[in-house]
Structure formats: structure tokens, C-alpha cells
């Protein structure tokens, strides 16, 4: 149980860092990158320890992780269109 409590404290600490970073009001792109990185670390800790992926067979662990990663990567194709819309927008008078 001690190991899980340590992970729980680590997750709480990461949430605190997220809030502190947000309160520093960095540029939006930098804030997004930082928050995604921290959320990714939290997800990794949750998957490996709370969901026990660390203790499953490696083949199973990578099958699960790769399935989600591939789905997420495939969703990235529309960002160009979002930026196209952003640049096409006519400024409000």
C-alpha cells in the first residue's frame, strides 16, 4: 500500500505544479505544452502503478499503450485545417 500512497502524493504534487504554472500566466502555447507534459506523466504513473500495467506482460503493456498512441496520432491530421481557419478569419471591426 505504501507504494500506492507515494504515487498518490506524486500525482497530487503534479496537480499542484500544474496550478502554479497556470497562475504564472505563461504564453498559451507554452502553457499547453507544459500541461500536456505533466498530464502525460500523471497518466503514465496511473497506468503503470494504479492500473498495474508495470506488472503485466510487456507484450500486453505495449499492445495497450500503442493502441491508444496510434489512435491519438491518427487524430492529428486535422490541425492544419484548424490553423487554416484561424488565418482565414477576418478581424472584427
Amino acid at each position: 500500500m505504501k507504494r500506492y500512497v507515494v504515487v498518490w502524493f506524486a500525482l497530487l504534487a503534479i496537480v499542484a505544479v500544474e496550478v502554479v504554472v497556470t497562475l504564472a500566466h505563461p504564453p498559451t502555447g507554452l502553457l499547453l505544452a507544459g500541461l500536456l507534459l505533466l498530464a502525460g506523466i500523471e497518466a503514465g504513473l496511473g497506468l503503470l502503478y494504479f492500473m498495474h500495467l508495470k506488472y503485466e506482460r510487456r507484450s500486453f503493456m505495449w499492445s495497450v499503450i500503442l493502441a491508444v498512441v496510434i489512435a491519438v496520432v491518427l487524430m492529428d491530421h486535422f490541425w492544419l485545417d484548424a490553423f487554416r481557419l484561424l488565418h482565414q478569419r477576418i478581424s472584427a471591426p
Binding site: V15, M51, A71, W79, L86
Partner: protein, 201 residues
């Protein structure tokens, strides 16, 4: 007459079928949430007049409390599974009860946030601050789907706890339900920073 014999192949992942089933659900559900968050990212990038509706007090502070509550519920569900695996039935039921209580508290805090936003004039397709109405649409759809998962999780935990008390379910059932509960927690690890923190005034 030819004799039929069953062939039992070992699982390539060494994972029981019930656990494999919940993992397949989790992978599919993760893709669902990812699609919703990507859609939110798309409309946000494409709308330079995006509204930042959340002040630190009360919205972000409420979100921090919700996050702590949900993270703690992940710890209590682990305690329930460990107790069940050790054969400590009463302790497992107590920890399951604590998890359900925390899940209900999370849902109550979430609904309080929703009521506050609805009171301020926010609707899924109306922005009272004058910017794009997609702010409300993305907020209510992403947090709504997550809230639905929490509520379903609390109900499933109650059903599993009752079955476990009556001897119908065992520690494996608790572990499988715990995996779902951790997943709900994990999704919130993305929803809180992307929907709340990134939209702080």
C-alpha cells in the same frame, strides 16, 4: 464417431478474459475521450476570440478539490482490492464504500459547477460573455461525458459491493471494476488542465 476435444490455448498476454475485456473497453473509451479533446482543441485553435470563463475562485479552486477527491478515490479503490485479495471482506467493503462516497462527492462538486455556470447564462450553445458559443459546447460535452462515467462507476461499484458481500463476486471482480475507476481518474488528469486551467482568466 469422431471424438471432440476442447483445445485450451494459453492466453498470449497471460491476462484473464474479464481483465482483457475491461482493458479493451478502456482503450476504446480512451480513443473516445481523445476524439472529444481533439475536437475541443480544433475549435479552440480555429477561434481566436475564445472566451476564458474560469476565475481561480470559485471554478479553479473547485476543480482542484474535485481532482484531489478523485485521486483519493483511486487510492481507496486500491485499498479495497488489496483487502479483498487478502480475504479481508469487511475492510474491502469499507474501502468500496469510501470510494463510492468520494465518487458521489466528485459528482456533487461537478454538478455545483454546472449549476453555477448555467446560472451565469452558459448553455451548450450560448456564451453569455459574447465570444464563440463553442466554449459551452465543448465544456458541457467533455465534462458531461466524464461525469456520466463517474456516475456509472459509482453505480457499478455499488452493484459489485453488494455482490461481493453476498459472495457472488470475488477480488477479481473488484480489480476489474477498479481498473475502470482508475481510467475515469486518468481521463480527469487531462480534462482538468485542458478544460479548466487552460481556460483560466
Amino acid at each position: 464417431m469422431a471424438e471432440l476435444t476442447a483445445v485450451h490455448e494459453p492466453s498470449p498476454f497471460a491476462v484473464p478474459s474479464r481483465k482483457l475485456g475491461i482493458w479493451m473497453f478502456i482503450v476504446a473509451d480512451a480513443a473516445t475521450f481523445a476524439a472529444l479533446l481533439f475536437a475541443y482543441g480544433y475549435v479552440r485553435v480555429a477561434n481566436p476570440d475564445w472566451t476564458h470563463p474560469f476565475a481561480f475562485w470559485p471554478s479553479i479552486a473547485n476543480g482542484i478539490v474535485m481532482t484531489v477527491v478523485l485521486l483519493t478515490s483511486s487510492l481507496t479503490v486500491i485499498a479495497a482490492v488489496l483487502a479483498a485479495q487478502a480475504g479481508r471482506k469487511a475492510a474491502a467493503l469499507r474501502w468500496l464504500g469510501a470510494t463510492m462516497l468520494l465518487g458521489t462527492l466528485f459528482a456533487a462538486l461537478h454538478l455545483r459547477e454546472w449549476v453555477s455556470m448555467l446560472g451565469a447564462g452558459w448553455r451548450p450553445f450560448r456564451n453569455p460573455l459574447g465570444g464563440t458559443p463553442l466554449v459551452g459546447a465543448t465544456f458541457f460535452s467533455v465534462t458531461g461525458l466524464h461525469l456520466l462515467h463517474v456516475l456509472v462507476g459509482v453505480i457499478v461499484l455499488a452493484v459489485i459491493a453488494l455482490g461481493y458481500r453476498r459472495g457472488r463476486f470475488d477480488a477479481d471482480h473488484l480489480e476489474t471494476t477498479g481498473l475502470y475507476w482508475h481510467f475515469v481518474d486518468l481521463v480527469w488528469m487531462f480534462v482538468f488542465p485542458l478544460i479548466y486551467l487552460l481556460n483560466m482568466r
